[in-house]
Amino acid sequence: MIQKVLVANRGEIAVRIMRSCREMGISTVAVFSEVDRTAMHVRYANEAYCIGQAPSVESYLNIEKILEVAKKSGSDAIHPGYGFLSENAHFAERCQEEGIAFIGPSPYAIRTMGDKITARRTMIAAGIPVVPGTVDKITSEKEALSVIEEIGLPVMIKASAGGGGKGMRLVKEKSEILSALRAARSEAASAFGDDSVFIEKYIESPHHIEYQILADKQGHTVHLFERECSVQRRHQKVVEETPSPLMTPQKRIEMGLHAVAAAKAVDYFGAGTIEFIMDDNLNYYFLEMNTRLQVEHPITERVVGIDLVKAQIDIANEKPLPFSQEDLFQHGHAIECRIYAEDTDQNFMPNPGVIRHITEPYGTGIRCDGYVYEGYEIPIYYDSMITKLIVWGYNRQDAIDRMKRALYEYKITGVKTSIRFLKRIMDTEDFRSGHYNTHFIGNNKEFLFQKGECFGKCEDIALIATYLEYMSKAGRADNAEKSGSETSDTWRNSGRKYGISPL
């Protein structure tokens, strides 16, 4: 049985994993880079060890150093979180060799699903739908026509040697096929010196829908339903929800069966996610499998009622799943907003810095998975996501209303965050009605990026507050007042000093 877990990660996910460990009576070990000495996961863990310099390759990706700490601290298992080493088959193997349990799938499953072409072949063999198209190069018009005939319009013609949108043509009408093909080939020839192309089905208004999987080492595999993750910026998810507003009960069952089959095809155990792309007509295709815990896992936990980290640890302990598919239901609706330290008005430019003030939302149906606190300096080296806000509601409408309320309460100053932008998303008609796809942010630019509205006299009031603040500061300086003027922060200061978690 696992007694002590080393968490090979940082940020919110490291804290989140340690929370479940604490509930299970498992001792935790943090590893940290030189700039992360003050990070929350270091303060939260029972033990913490520095493993190197700030750049990830010298610390959080340093396999041998992490294993050394695991052995030194007597950890019997390693949880990799997401990102960093979580999908590194070599790391999973090295853990095995050192006799340390890797809380995740087998190196074989990681490797198979990690290579796009191998994964695609494995899925085709298992009868899972994949995006129709050619894998081999096409060099003649005749060949191209017969392929297009087979997969149906619209299609995307892409240069084999391509990149940067060159040699790429979208074909919607039959009459456009030949001219598009010629244009793509000549563009490819001049850009890359190679006129061969391949053809892929073009998914119009794509939806990103994924299935949460849990599988034990005894061969039982279940799915914990879908998550809708179509609100994305720069191919990164921003808002996720479950159930998906697009899904029908019948489709849910059908996709669930395919998701389970996909996991079984690689003898999967642990928690994993099967990602699908779905069109407006509910045709869906396998995209990839993430062989790890996902950022957005809490919405599934909230709606299905299962702690996925505890489930991962139980599976690593060789325990069989204590439930079967028939025992699992979706209850209510959950939404997650990822809060990034970024400037949403400047093309989402990251904005690291010192957190000056933070007020988190409380009340019914709220969960905050974050890791920053007042006075904490967010380092420049790692991801810009600082916290996740997860809400639950009786139904979708209730969840959206609650999310708006929670975003209203969430206040972080010192760095720019995406909080206001997220609130706008909640107000966007396409989101409210549930009719959105991965083009959502692009399609709603005007509404999402409008200048902040100012109700009533708020500008004058802002000026008044500035006036009073400035004058009282000046006054304080004159009186050379004792530092006791900021006594209200004493509790927080001592909290910081003595490691009491303000979370």
Binding site: G414, R420, S472
Partner: protein
């Protein structure tokens, strides 16, 4: 923390936002009750400072919550309300003097600065090189994302203040173009 208006001197201040310049003058105060002129509008409000930089203001029963974050110097503030962020600068005697002398903002167009902390990944120009407006001169990485910073004017690179691999701060001057 209760705000102590008795410390206030009845004084006029000029405040500048991105959109306007306003004159503010405290008319009267009694406990939390404050009467103040903003240009030609008279406000009577109930103001309490509830935390560091945190104000609760009631105006005709309507509740406003504001957070003030002091900027690079004690005259610059960022004020967050739920819907909008304001940048306000207090114009005191010293600032007015500097403005008169025309020494404010000099050179700001000719320098390339980093709007956020980060690490210099690549410097694409060298000293003495001719650059055109819009040309990328330096790449800074922060939080796994690389941002390109461009020349804001045509000119010649007269100074490169950083080296590749350096960690830079917000608003730090990276490259000077004359």
């Amino acid at each position: 923390m209760v705000f102590h208006p008795y410390k206030l001197k009845k004084m006029q201040l000029e405040l500048i936002t991105e959109e306007r310049t306003a004159q503010l003058r405290l008319v009267h105060h009694d406990g939390n009750q404050i009467t103040i002129m903003v240009d030609d509008v008279l406000y009577t409000l109930d103001v309490v400072k509830v935390g560091k930089g945190n104000y609760s203001i009631l105006l005709d029963g309507e509740s406003y919550n504001l957070e003030l974050v002091e900027g690079a110097n004690s005259r610059e503030y960022t004020i967050n309300t739920f819907h909008k962020t304001f940048k306000v600068e207090v114009i005191d005697a010293e600032t007015r003097y500097r403005r008169k002398k025309g020494s404010v903002n000099v050179g700001s167009d000719k320098t390339v600065r980093s709007p956020m902390p980060g690490k210099v990944i690549r410097i694409l120009v060298s000293k003495g090189e001719q650059v055109v407006k819009g040309q990328t001169v330096i790449i800074v990485s922060a939080m796994k994302m690389e941002s390109e910073f461009k020349a804001t004017v045509d000119g010649v690179v007269t100074g490169i203040q950083v080296s590749e691999g350096d960690v830079v701060d917000t608003q730090q001057v990276l490259v000077v173009i004359e």
